[in-house]
Structure formats: C-alpha cells, structure tokens
C-alpha cells in the first residue's frame, strides 16, 4: 500500500520555548490503516496530530524542522485549507469543534465551503449521518446531545468531506466505556466502508489493542515503539518504564512467558486469548478440587477486613432515602441509601447519566435533596452552608481548570486552607510540604502547566486540607498511566490515614485496583453496593448498568468455571500468575 503520510526528521518547538515537543520524528503511515498513537503526557501526541492536520505550521507558531508530506503534499507549502481536503481532524475539545447549533447545519458547513455540487450534498449528508449511526439526530440541537453523540456528530461532519485521513485527538476522554466503544466501532465501520486512514490518539490501551492494526508509542517527542498491537504490548516492561499501561491480559501472558510456564508467540490482548493461554499452560491438569475455593479469597479478604475494621467508627457519610431531580427528562437520583466510613474507598460506577455526578453534588452540598437526608460528618447538608461543609469535604472535579484561580501553585494550594481560616504563614508551610511531596513547581502559574500537572495541583489543593471526606469525579481522565498511579496512590494513602474516599470512575481497572467497595448506579438508583470483587463478578448486575468487568476479574471468573474453582476471587495480575504457577507445579 502507498504511504499517505510521511514525516522525515520532524522537530517542533512551540512559540519561543527551547524544549522540543517533537524530536527528529520519522514516520510513515500507509493508506487504509487504523493507527493508534499512545504515550505519556508531554510525549508530543497532540503536537503530532497538529503536524498531520497542518495546524502546525499554519495555526500554531513555533520552530518547525524537517519535512511532512500528506498524499505527497508538503504541509509547509500547501495552505491549511488544501491540507484539510486530505486530512480531516477532530479536536480534543468537542464543544469548540462545533460551528453550528443544529446537527444538519454542522455537517453542511464543510460541504458548502468545499463547493460540493448541490445535487450531491443531500447524499453526502445522509451517508455521513448513517455511517456513524445518528440519522435520527439530524434535526436536533447540538447543545441537547450527550457527549458520545456530540463526538459522533463531529466525526460525521469530517467524514462528509470524504478526507483520506482522519486524525482524532483523544476522542473518548470524556466518555463512559460503552460510548467509547461505540465511537471506536464507528471509526472501524467508517474505515471499512470508505477506506479512510484512521489515526487516533488514545489513552485506553484495551481499546487500542482491540481496534488498531498498528500502534505507535511516543516518548519524549519521538517514536519509542511501533508495530502491531501484539508486537507493542509484548514489551510491557518497556511500556511501563515509558509510562504507558498495557492491557492486563498482555501483562498476564508476558509474566507467564517470562516464568517459562507457557510458550507465548504473541501476548494475549483479549480475555479470550488469555483464557486460551492459561488453559494451554495448565493442559492436562487434574480435575478441580473444591477445598481450595475458600483459600483463594485470601488476597481479597485482606482488603475487605480493612474495610470491616472501621465498622465500629462513626460513619462520615450517611444518606437516607435521598432523592433529587433537576426536572423532567434530566439526570436525577432516586431513593439512595449509602453509608461510608473512614478508611473506605468507595467506587461509584455506571453509565453517563446514571446520576453519579448528581450524587457527588449532593454530598458536597451543592445540591440539596428534595426528600431524604444527607449527613456529612454529622452535619445535615440542608441546614449547613456549603462553605462550612467544605471544611469536611474536599472535591476533586473532573476538569481541574475549573478549580484553579490563583497566580502561583503555592497560592493555589494554600488558598483552600486560607478559606478555612488557617493563617497565611501556616497555610503556606503546609502547602509547601505537599507541593514538595508531589514534586510540583511552587512558583509557576498553574495554567502554564500540562493537563496532568494541573490535575496534580488541584489534588494537592484537596490533600492539603486534610479533609474527612474526599470526593473524586473522574480523577484519572486525561492522565497518563504514571500520573494516574501517582494520583491514586496518594488517594489510597489518605484513606489509610483515616479519610473516607468516594470516587466516580469510568476506568474499571482503576476501580478494581483501588476501591474497597463499589456502588453500581443506573437510572439514578444504586443497584447494589458491596465489596468490589463480589459485585464485579455478578454479570447480570453489570449488564443492567452497562458495565464491562475488569479484564482480570473476567478472566479469573471464567477460569474458575472451566479450569479450577481456586481462580475465583483473584483480582490482580500477580495473584493470577502465581495461581497458575502453583497449579502447574502441583500437576
């Protein structure tokens, strides 16, 4: 196949800055591929997208070296508009991408501008809408659509222009797992139908592994790894050093291979592949024994008792029969009972619109329940001002930019303490300590930092308060693997020190790694609330809330059913590998 994109020795530095966002990047992309780009934050992923779409050098200024050709066209010589006829791009901020207020007009905009003949416009319009499966949304106001639907509109608007390359910058960052998968399905279908080359920047490794035929790992502005998903995820140690996650199944197969338990030609990327691999490793093993079932719960039991130990202490959060509604047809919560005690990390999972964010706003007092009562540290939110509740509850919002308002990181972190009446000197001292622990630049302006660092600043502002209850709304979205782990380890430490944590999270792997208990929400109700592992194994419940279980739990449940019951209850890669090793030796 012919190359549609060729980058030769491309380097770029934004504005007057010294540091290079891209360094001597060489890259060739063949026409018709489905290419995933991944890397830690600051690796140059978005910069690469801008280079491909011509936004660099035509929109962002800076120093650009090397040569970029799209379909033979040098992007420095061609105009942005000419490049746009070949490369269509979907930006990270989907609201900013929109130019019209109605779906139909949004798609017409490009078609009209590029002078598509009038008799073809209707056809192109309907084709684009049906290609992404939103024909019924044609007349809708864009403002009334969900995040996933908006993303599809943005893709349709670009597909209508029939570009040869489609570049997407983190299209699923704000979406729940089901919508994310739907977006990738749309991309795959579009690629199959029109032969368009898809280049997608993405953090969700499991999606990349499943949909892409090639994965490029960026690190420090150049290509670190490049190959098929099986090639790339075979290097899970290298990936981890770079700061990129691998699918858990790949980690399992890589560990099994390095222990010599099984011959692995290529890493397992799906639960099916991993299951086959483990069964191959245990080939010829004896029939399941029943007495081991209780023992296998051991790693998980430890966590549960951790939660149980605090049973005696007074709960921090007490919700009784809480209902709230914004009005007909809007997100609401209905008859919620919930108790959270110190030391617990409660994960709240469910689809977008299930009422999770409404729940957090009820907890920090921004919303008052219509019926029922919310008590935080003994205070009824209905009669306590939000600013008073704030001394007990600290919230980390999904978008850190909404929380930041000071000129330096130091001022920002100490701001919350000062609001709570701590004098400036003490506040600065405490803030300094936290900033140092997080490794943040104290004197920089928060808005000059990267997305991940801004999230860390916001988190530092939460941790410094030493609150009794920490609420996290999507703490890991937009963060790379390493940042995600730093954030979550910090949160776990807080919980050990006696804070209660409630976290909303779409990443089931993170939930299963860190939450001691989960609440599954759907249609404004809590379907069930209990120990993380127990709920993650109840497939009918998960289905009801449209949640896919974490890979490791899915795999261990399947193995428990087919191979040996002692696999039941395993939640971590290392435990599963150890179990396989033990069984193999016994056999």
């Amino acid at each position: 196949m012919a190359a549609i994109i060729e980058l030769r020795e491309v380097s770029f530095a934004y504005g007057q800055t010294e540091s290079l966002a891209l360094k001597d990047l060489n890259l060739t992309i063949e026409e018709g591929g489905f290419v995933g780009v991944i890397g830690p934050s600051g690796a140059g992923k978005s910069t690469l997208a801008s280079v491909l779409s011509g936004a660099i050098p035509h929109h962002y200024t800076g120093r650009l070296y090397g040569e970029t050709r799209v379909a033979g066209l040098d992007t420095c010589e061609a105009s942005l508009t000419d490049i746009a006829t070949i490369v269509g791009s979907v930006l990270q901020d989907i609201d900013a991408q929109m130019v019209a207020s109605v779906v139909e007009d949004e798609i017409l905009f490009g078609l009209e501008n590029f002078d598509v003949p009038r008799d073809q416009i209707e056809q192109r319009l309907t084709d684009a809408l049906s290609a992404v499966g939103i024909a019924e949304l044609r007349e809708r106001e864009i403002a009334s659509l969900s995040g996933g639907q908006k993303q599809k509109v943005a893709i349709a608007a670009i597909l209508a222009l029939a570009p040869r390359v489609l570049v997407l910058d983190e299209p699923t960052a704000a979406l729940d797992p089901i919508s994310s998968r739907a977006v990738f399905d749309v991309l795959r279908e579009a690629q199959r139908l029109t032969g368009v080359t898809v280049v997608v920047i993405e953090q969700m490794v499991a999606l990349l592994a499943e949909y892409c035929d090639r994965i490029i790992v960026l690190d420090n502005g150049s290509v670190a790894l490049d190959g098929t998903p099986h090639d790339v995820f075979g290097h899970s140690d290298e990936l981890r050093a770079i700061g990129v996650d691998s699918p858990r199944t790949a980690r399992i197969s890589n560990s099994l291979a390095s222990l010599g338990l099984v011959e692995v030609e290529r890493p397992a990327l799906t639960v099916d592949e991993a299951q086959a691999l483990v069964m191959q490793a245990l080939d010829g093993r004896t029939a399941p024994t029943s007495d081991m079932r209780t023992r296998s719960y051991a790693p998980h039991d430890a966590r549960e008792t951790g939660a149980c130990a605090s049973r005696g202490t007074a709960p921090i959060v007490e919700l009784e029969g809480v209902s709230f509604s914004y009005g007909a047809g809007c997100a609401s919560v209905d008859d919620i009972d919930l108790t959270v005690r110190p030391g617990e990390i409660l994960g709240v999972v469910g689809q977008n619109g299930a009422g999770k964010t409404t729940l957090t706003k009820l907890l920090n007092g921004l919303l008052k329940p219509v019926s029922g009562s919310v008590r935080i540290a003994g205070l009824d939110t209905r009669s306590t001002p939000v600013s008073t509740l704030a001394t007990h509850v600290a919230t980390l919002f999904q978008n850190p930019d909404r929380q930041l308002c000071r000129n330096t990181v130091l001022e920002e972190v100490s701001f919350g303490l000062e609001l709570h009446g701590v004098d400036t000197t003490t506040a600065r001292e405490r803030a300094d300590a936290v900033i140092e622990r997080f490794g943040l630049p104290a004197q920089s302006a928060p808005f000059s930092l990267s997305r991940g660092q801004r999230q860390m600043v916001a988190l530092a502002g939460v941790v410094v308060l030493d609150p009794e209850l920490i609420i996290l709304d999507e703490p890991t979205s937009g963060l790379d693997y390493r940042e995600c782990m730093t954030v979550m380890e910090t949160v776990r430490k807080r919980a050990h020190m006696g804070a209660a944590v409630i976290m909303i999270c779409h990443d089931m792997e993170v939930v299963s790694d860190f939450a001691t208990r989960i609440a599954i929400m759907a249609q404004g109700r809590i379907l069930d609330c209990g120990p993380t592992h127990r709920l993650f194994t109840q497939s009918d419940l998960l289905e009801q809330a449209s949640i896919t279980p974490p890979q490791v739990i899915d795999l261990s449940e399947r193995l428990a059913d087919i191979v040996d019951p002692s696999f039941a209850g395993i939640t971590e890669v290392s435990d599963l590998v150890a179990r396989v090793k033990e069984l193999k030796h016994r056999a």
Binding site: T81, G88, V99, E141, L161, F447
Partner: protein, 248 residues
C-alpha cells in the same frame, strides 16, 4: 439548559419567513418605538410584539424576559424622575414631566429588547447568518462572528456555573447573602473562565478553517433564502409601522 435566545422549533408563518424579513420587522418596530411620542403608540407596538410572540408560540420566553427587564426599567424610571424635573410636583421628587419622559423611556427599553429576542427565538442562527450573507450581502466573516458569539453565550454561562460550583465546594462563600461580597469573590474566578474561553475560541477558529471557512462565498449555502410574497407583505407592513411611528 434553557436559554432566552435559544431557537424554539415551530411552523408558524413567522418561523417560515425569510430571516431578513424578520430582522426588518424587528428593526421597524424598534425604529417606530424610537420615533413615536404617544403612549398609545408605544403600548401598541409592545402589544404587537407580544401578539406576534403569542402567535409563534414563544410567549413564555418573552414573558420571562419581561420579568428580567422590569426591574431595570423601573430603575431607569427612578433615575429619569430624579434628573428630568419640570411641570407640577406629583410626589416627593417626582414631577409630571419626569413621569412622562421616564415612562416613555421604560416602554422604549422593553420595546427595543423584545422584538430582537423574538427574532432569535423563531430563527435558527445558521439561517440568520446565511440569509444575511445571501440577501443583504453581509460578509460571511461578520455573520459567523456574530452567530458564534451568540452560540458561546450559553456555553460560557455553563462554564461559569461549573467554576462557581467548584469554588463553592472549596469553601469560597458564594452562598453569602451580601451581593457586594459575592461580586468581589467572583473577580478571581474570571481568570479560569478567561483562560478556557480563549482556548475554546482558538480551537473553534482552527476547526472552522480546517473545514474550509476561507473558501466560503455568498453562493456557498446549500439552503436558499428567496424573498416570497409573505416577505413582500412583511416589508409593506414594516413601512406602515415606521410611518405610524413617525406620525404619532
């Protein structure tokens, strides 16, 4: 989120008219409001606007806007009473002349705001922009700037609300009852709003350019906006309103 200037779908004649005629209609009502000196005419024009709104099914929007405008209009009345003195004294510092001038100013304020909002509620922004470009030969750049600015109003309102919520949750006393304290607390919050706004605008500019913004001409629009018989009648009606405003 519901916004006063959001489009309300409908199929009334007012919805189907050429956006340019609707603008002309609003403009002539506004012009007549400024020209007219008689109370009857001013009230009549206001009634006309409300009647049109009722016909197009957007009366609730106009009424909710009236609720917002009334305190402002009353404030204006008090100011006028204080500054325009003449004629007989009615009560305290109020004089007959002050009442007459102030009252008219109030009616004009409301009479100017309502027709514009009426046009926006019965016209899609894109249609308004395209029709202005096609019929009035307005450069598309200006039409796009105007419609984008209007479209950003609810987006920025939402953003502002989210920021205020986040800051409230941190302990900033936005729930204070003192309005002056609230104002002073809001100032620092403008920084994040400004930062996100600039970022969003820049991204929109880029997205528009990547979809051929600079190639767009007067003929680009897929939908056409011809002037029909109803529009011709609307123009006659407009002329009549202006003439009436001039006479009375």
């Amino acid at each position: 989120m519901l916004n006063v200037i959001d489009y309300v779908p409908g199929a009334s004649l007012l919805h189907r008219m050429n956006p340019v005629s609707k603008l002309a209609l609003a403009a002539s009502i506004i012009l007549a409001t400024f020209l007219s000196q008689s109370w009857a005419m001013l009230v009549g024009l206001l009634m006309l606007t409300l009647a049109l709104g009722a016909y197009a099914g957007v009366i609730t929007r106009l009424v909710s806007l009236l609720k917002v405008l009334t305190p402002i209009a009353l404030l204006m009345l008090i100011l006028q009473l204080a500054f325009v003195r003449g004629g007989d004294q009615v009560l305290l510092f109020a004089t007959t002349e002050g009442l007459a001038t102030g009252g008219r100013a109030c009616l004009r304020l409301v009479g100017v705001a309502l027709p514009l909002v009426l046009v926006l509620t019965v016209t899609k922004l894109t249609d308004l922009a395209n029709a202005c470009v096609e019929v009035l030969h307005v450069p598309y750049k200006y039409a796009f700037t105007f419609t984008t600015a209007l479209r950003f109003v609810p987006i920025f309102t939402q953003e502002m609300n989210a920021i205020m919520e986040a800051q409230t949750a941190r302990g900033v006393e936005f729930d204070t009852r003192n309005p002056f304290k609230k104002m002073s607390l809001m100032l620092p919050v403008c920084i994040p709003l400004l930062v996100t706004s600039v970022g969003k605008t820049d991204a929109t500019a880029l997205a528009a350019e990547q979809r051929g913004f600079y190639l767009r001409t007067r003929e680009s629009s897929y939908k056409r906006y011809p002037l029909r018989a109803a529009d011709a009648m609307a123009f006659v009606f407009c002329a009549a309103i202006i003439a009436l405003g001039f006479i009375f």
